[in-house]
C-alpha cells in the first residue's frame, strides 16, 4: 500500500533527486565506457550527433563534470536525509547496498583522478587495480539498481506512525 505522507512538515520521496541521480549515472556510465576504445570501433561515434563520443578528451571532461555533480548530489542528499527525511523514512537494506556500491565507485574514481594529476605516480599494479575496481563497482551498482528496479525495492521506506 502506498503511503502518502507529504505534508507541510513531512517531505515526500525525493523524486527530483532520484531523476538527477539517474541522469548523472547515465552520463557517467556512457562517458566512462567511452574511456575504453570501443565507441569508434563499434561505430557508435558514426551515429549522427555522437561523433564527439570518440573524442577521449571530450568524454573525459564530461566524465569529470558528471563526477563533480555526483559528489555534490551525494553530499546534498546525505545532508537532506539527515536533516529533514530521517524522521519519516528509514534506509532500506537495498538503499544501504546501493550507497555502499556508489561510495566504492566514487572512492575508486577519486583515486583515478589523483593518478591523473601531474606528479602523482602510482605503481602499475595499483593503477590497474583502481581501473578494474572502478569498472567492477560501477557494473555491480548497475546490476543492483536493475535488480531493485525489477523487484520494486526502494532505498527509503516510510516509518509508520
Amino acid at each position: 500500500m502506498k503511503t502518502k505522507i507529504e505534508t507541510a512538515t513531512a517531505p515526500g520521496r525525493p523524486k527530483t533527486l532520484r531523476r538527477l541521480y539517474i541522469l548523472t549515472f547515465i552520463v557517467l556510465a556512457f562517458t566512462g565506457f567511452g574511456q575504453m576504445p570501443i565507441f569508434k570501433r563499434y561505430g557508435l561515434s558514426s551515429i549522427p550527433g555522437l561523433g564527439w563520443s570518440a573524442n577521449y578528451y571530450a568524454t573525459h571532461y564530461i566524465h569529470y563534470l558528471g563526477a563533480i555533480f555526483l559528489i555534490a548530489l551525494m553530499a546534498y542528499t546525505a545532508a537532506d536525509f539527515f536533516a529533514s527525511r530521517r524522521k519519516y523514512f528509514r534506509l532500506t537494506k537495498a538503499g544501504v547496498l546501493q550507497i555502499a556500491l556508489l561510495s566504492a565507485v566514487v572512492a575508486t574514481g577519486v583515486f583515478r583522478v589523483l593518478k591523473n594529476l601531474p606528479d602523482v605516480v602510482f605503481s602499475p599494479g595499483f593503477t590497474m587495480f583502481i581501473d578494474l575496481s572502478h569498472l567492477a563497482f560501477m557494473m555491480l551498482y548497475f546490476l543492483a539498481a536493475l535488480f531493485l528496479l525489477i523487484t520494486g525495492r526502494k532505498w527509503l521506506s516510510p516509518i509508520q506512525r
Binding site: 507541510a8 512538515t9 574511456q35 575504453m36 576504445p37 570501443i38 570501433r41 563499434y42 561505430g43 577521449y56 578528451y57 573525459h60 571532461y61 569529470y64 563534470l65 563526477a67 563533480i68 555533480f69 559528489i71 555534490a72 548530489l73 551525494m74 553530499a75 546534498y76 542528499t77 545532508a79 537532506d80 536533516a83 529533514s84 577519486v110 583522478v113 589523483l114 593518478k115 591523473n116 594529476l117 601531474p118 605516480v121 602510482f122 602499475p124 593503477t127 590497474m128 583502481i130 581501473d131
Partner: protein, 323 residues
C-alpha cells in the same frame, strides 16, 4: 663533469645508483645518479646532429629484445572495419616511427643565415611531464615513472591505440598479433600492443645512459635533471639566438630541443604524417581536467551548502505556516 650539471645538484641527488653506475661502461652524468625525485630530461641540440642514424641503430640493437614477435595468422577482427597493424614484415623501416623503430632522423631544408641548409634531428617520444597517454590509458599499461620517463607495459597493453589518439604527436605505434588481448577476446577487443621509446629505462635505472645518447658521435643529446637541462637549453638559445621546443609544449616535456631556426619553420620543412611527428605549438592537453580535479574538492561542500540553503528555506516556510 658535463657542462650545465652542477656539483650542488650532484650532492643533492645522492649516490643511490652509484654502485650500479660503476658497473656500466658509460655512466649517466654525475648529477643524474640516484636522482629518483628529479625528472630527467634530454637536451637535443639540433645544430650538432649530422643525421648519421647511429642513434637509430643503437636503439634498435639495445631494444631488439623488446620488439614484438606476433603470432600469425591474426585473429579475425569484428567488426571487419577494424584493421590490423602489421609491421612485422617491415622491420627495416627507419624513416619513421614503427613498433620496430622507436627513434628516427627527421630532415628539414631551411634557410640559415641566408644559406640553404639541411638540418637533421632525432625524433621520438617527448616524455611529457603530464603525459596524456599515461593519464588516459584505461588499463594502466602506459605510465610515467618517478624519473619522468613514460613507458608502455607490453604485458598489460591491449593495443586499443588510445595512447596514440591522445598523444599530441601521435607517437605510439601498434603491432597486431601480440599481447594480452590474444588471451581475452582477440576478435572483439584490443588489437595488439603499442610501442614507443621508453628512453632505455632499465639502463637508466642501472645508472647507464640511454643507447641513443651513449652512441652519438656528435653528442647531440645529453640527459640530466630537467631544471638544469632547461637552463642549459636557454643558455644555448641565448648564445645562438635560437629557439626552444618542449619547455612548455603540452604543459612541458622531458625532451627539450634547441634549434637555430624557429620551430614554425622547421615544422613547415619536415615531412609530417603517421609516425612522423610535427613541431607545432602544443597546448597543455590535461590542463582542463586538472582544473576540474581541483573543483572536485569543492563539490561536497557545494552539495552541503545547497542542502543548508534548502533547510533554511524550509524552516522559514514552516515558521510562516505556524503564524
Amino acid at each position: 663533469m658535463e657542462k650545465g650539471i652542477s656539483r650542488r645538484s650532484f650532492l643533492k641527488s645522492g649516490l643511490a645508483a652509484a654502485g650500479a653506475a660503476a658497473a656500466s661502461t658509460v655512466a649517466l652524468p654525475e648529477s643524474v645518479k640516484g636522482a629518483k625525485e628529479t625528472e630527467l630530461a634530454t637536451l637535443i641540440d639540433i645544430r650538432k646532429c649530422i643525421g648519421c642514424e647511429a642513434c637509430v641503430e643503437a636503439c634498435r640493437d639495445v631494444n631488439a629484445g623488446k620488439y614484438p614477435v606476433p603470432s600469425k595468422p591474426y585473429p579475425k577482427m569484428y567488426p571487419s572495419s577494424v584493421k590490423v597493424s602489421d609491421w612485422s614484415g617491415k622491420k627495416d623501416v627507419t624513416d619513421r616511427l614503427t613498433p620496430y623503430n622507436w627513434v628516427f632522423i627527421q630532415h628539414a631544408q631551411v634557410v640559415l643565415k641566408g644559406k640553404k641548409e639541411e638540418l637533421t634531428f632525432p625524433r621520438r617520444c617527448m616524455h611529457c611531464q603530464n603525459p596524456p597517454c599515461a593519464d588516459l590509458c584505461p588499463w594502466g599499461a602506459a605510465r610515467k615513472l618517478d624519473n619522468g620517463i613514460s613507458v608502455i607495459h607490453p604485458d598489460i597493453c591491449l593495443g586499443g591505440s588510445k595512447c596514440k589518439d591522445v598523444c599530441p604527436w601521435k607517437i605510439p605505434q601498434r603491432q597486431t598479433g601480440v599481447g594480452l588481448y590474444l588471451k581475452i577476446l582477440p576478435s572483439l577487443g584490443g588489437n595488439g600492443v603499442m610501442y614507443k621509446c621508453d628512453r632505455c629505462y632499465e639502463r637508466v635505472a642501472k645508472g647507464e645512459l640511454p643507447a641513443c645518447i651513449e652512441v652519438c658521435p656528435e653528442k647531440v643529446q645529453k640527459i640530466g635533471p630537467r631544471e638544469e637541462i632547461l637552463k642549459e637549453a636557454k643558455e644555448i638559445a641565448r648564445e645562438i639566438g635560437g629557439y626552444i621546443y618542449g619547455a612548455d609544449e603540452n604543459g612541458g616535456t622531458n625532451t627539450i630541443y634547441v634549434s637555430p631556426v624557429p620551430f614554425e619553420e622547421l615544422n613547415k620543412a619536415i615531412e609530417k604524417g603517421d609516425g612522423k611527428p610535427h613541431f607545432k605549438k602544443v597546448a597543455d592537453s590535461m590542463a582542463h581536467v586538472d582544473n576540474l580535479a581541483k573543483a572536485m574538492v569543492i563539490a561536497p561542500f557545494a552539495g552541503l551548502a545547497a542542502a543548508a540553503l534548502k533547510m533554511v528555506s524550509f524552516a522559514s516556510k514552516e515558521k510562516e505556516g505556524g503564524k
